[in-house]
């Protein structure tokens, strides 16, 4: 899923999220027009205005993100209810949004039907969610850090890329479930395995994205560095990485849901703890209330985390790569 997402993301930005962000950014741009024109005052004032614009750009982008989150929640609810109705899925298996609501907030203890109270349900869910969040963070950091390092090496040394790209491809194209027995044998069934499995899931899309960003550095900037006699490392640090910031953030963003998937997979295939393992367990004890609630909670968490990363991205890009948002426009 993330593999198909990866190539298109650098080009289109974050879909609807950046769309609205860019829209309001144009508004801010129009407002600066007259101000800059009439004042023509001293330079510090202009930078102050610019900083303000940047901040309002970040704020409006955040607002845009929240708006798009609301819209996507609505779309999901409609799809959820609609598809279940359309395909007449057994209500015992297919829980509606109301069922999930009841499970999370209004369920009373019912020993006859083996139902826990809502408070207890939430307790169980969040206990597993805590584990999953830790696992997801581990895989996320592992995957991104590795992708950053490897993509820098790949860009600096084409020969290394030619030699090692197939390895990255193998990691991506062999199903994790097929690799799992070997991975657990080598890395055990604890945090290391979580980092490896989560890392594998996050690594490849991040690698491709970041390499794309590093290579998209303007030729003129590189020429400038060459004419000043800068070393390759200096060029990487001062020009390549900063100009790849939009791509780096794009991969930070798309890897949020990927990291959740990675964590769930690791819990399912290796550790047997956390939401991933729990989802499988409750399916086999026919506890579909918990299964659906867990899916909803995990999805919600992924959406929130995605929005947070988007907000950070907006703030950082507004400061370091203001023209990146312009380019997207």
């Amino acid at each position: 899923m993330t593999a198909t997402e990866a190539p298109k993301t650098p080009g289109t930005g974050a879909g609807s999220a950046t769309g609205t962000g860019a829209g309001s950014a144009t508004g801010a741009g129009a407002a600066t027009g007259p101000g800059a024109g009439t004042a023509t005052g001293p330079a510090p004032k202009v930078t102050k205005v610019k900083a303000q614009n940047n901040r309002s750009l970040a704020v409006s982008r955040l607002a845009g993100n929240l708006g798009s989150v609301l819209v996507s929640v609505l779309v999901m609810l409609v799809l959820w209810i609609g598809l279940l109705k359309l395909y007449h899925v057994q209500p015992f298996v297919a829980k509606s949004p109301q069922d999930v609501w009841r499970y999370l907030f209004t369920q009373r203890l019912d020993k006859v039907h083996a139902l826990r109270s809502a408070a207890e349900n939430r307790h169980v869910l969040f206990l597993h969610l805590k584990t999953t969040l830790r696992d997801a963070s581990l895989g996320y950091v592992a995957g991104i850090v590795l992708a950053l390092g490897v993509s820098c090496v790949f860009v600096l040394q084409r020969m290394v890329e030619a030699a090692f790209m197939p390895v990255a491809l193998v990691l991506r194209s062999v199903p994790l479930i097929a690799m799992a027995p070997l991975l657990t044998l080598i890395f055990g069934r604890d945090l290391l395995a979580v980092a490896v499995i989560g890392g594998i899931v996050c690594f490849f899309p991040a690698l491709i994205n970041i390499m794309y960003g590093l290579r998209a550095t303007p030729r003129s900037a590189l020429d400038l560095m060459t004419s000043y006699g800068a070393s390759r490392l200096t060029t990487l640090r001062k020009v390549l990485v900063p100009s790849a910031l939009p791509s780096i953030f794009a991969s930070l963003r798309i890897n949020v849901p990927a990291a959740m998937i990675g964590a769930l997979l690791a819990e399912w295939l290796a550790t047997g703890k956390g939401s991933g393992a729990e989802m499988l367990t409750v399916q086999n004890t026919s506890d579909y209330g918990e299964l659906w609630a867990a899916v909803v909670v995990v999805t919600a968490v992924a959406m929130i985390a995605y929005s947070v990363v988007s907000a950070v991205e907006a703030a950082v890009l507004a400061r370091y790569a203001p023209d990146a948002t312009g380019r997207k426009r």
């Binding site: 298996v93 657990t184 069934r189």
Partner: protein, 378 residues
Amino acid sequence: MTKGRHDMDGAGAVDRRAFLRGGAKLLGGAALFGVAGPGLLEACSKSKTTSTTPTSAGTPTTVNFGTLNFNLPWVPDVESGGEFLAKDKGYYTQQGFTSVNLIPAGPTATPQETVVLTGKALVAVTSLDSTAAAIQKGSPLKVIGTQYQKNPFCIMSQASKPLNTPQDMIGKKIGVQSVNDAVWAAFLKANNLQASQVTKVVVSFDPTPLAQGQVDGWFSFITNEPIQLGLKGVATKTFLLADYNYPEIGNVYIATADSLKNDRAKVKACMTAEIVTWRECISHPDNPAQATIKDFPTSGTIEAAQKQSVEQNKLIAEGDALSSGLFYITPASQTQNVATLALGGTTVTTSQLFDMSLLDEIYAAHSDLKPVPAQGTI
């Protein structure tokens, strides 16, 4: 230019290879016929000898039930040898089905209860625990029979580091397949063990991690994994759950209350075929083993399949089956099983869980199917 020619060469090579492969397939097919020919003939003669005793169940029916969707209990192996045998020998079609679709289960498949509830299968073989849990939560399912009068659940460990009792598992890592979670949780409760005292590791079906020492114990079927590892030279130690506060039937047949009412003839036809085929499995344990290896060559060795076939017959042709017919769950057994389930916190009544009326009708109509044949050897 050179590149283009190279590519064309490549295409040519692929074509030649594909052609050769096709040829090999033809040869392989012919070889298969050669090997299977006598086997089939033998099988036919065998079925003739068993069906010369006039079985009303064996006579072809004129009804058309369409395709039978049947959910197996596990990944394809001789545990479902009876079903493969029935498919190969046409026992389902004899009962009026045009064809049969045997749906495999396994550690990551959709639970059989869900498959049956959603109408993707008419009948499934599953564990009593997961069905009881589903029924307690309000799903309209019924247990209509059981393959094993005594469950084969056991905890297997390496003989060098044996786990002899449930108490030995404290502080140890036990590999449990997610399908067996309901049994596992109930078994721990039945033995006053907290889930936190034993580390459960979610595992797949291949018990290699036990042999490699990744885990200390393995939730197994006594008829399966210990035999597999034994044939690979790994000595194992086992204890049965049934010997530690967990007496229970195993591999139960389930159907929805709705199909028992509205598709009763179909369910009955399916169960009749099941009785016919498993009777043959008991008297000729080699037949299901051969059928399994023929249909699923990668499922294991014929030696393992034969051993498992003989072992599982001891659980099927046992206890109440001998007096009441194959798969039958007597009222006394029903009460005991409900008590076992209650140990694990699943509280259901016998009438919520069991419905023997279908087997009653089958055995009333085909009294010749009721006597359980003597267990054959290989």
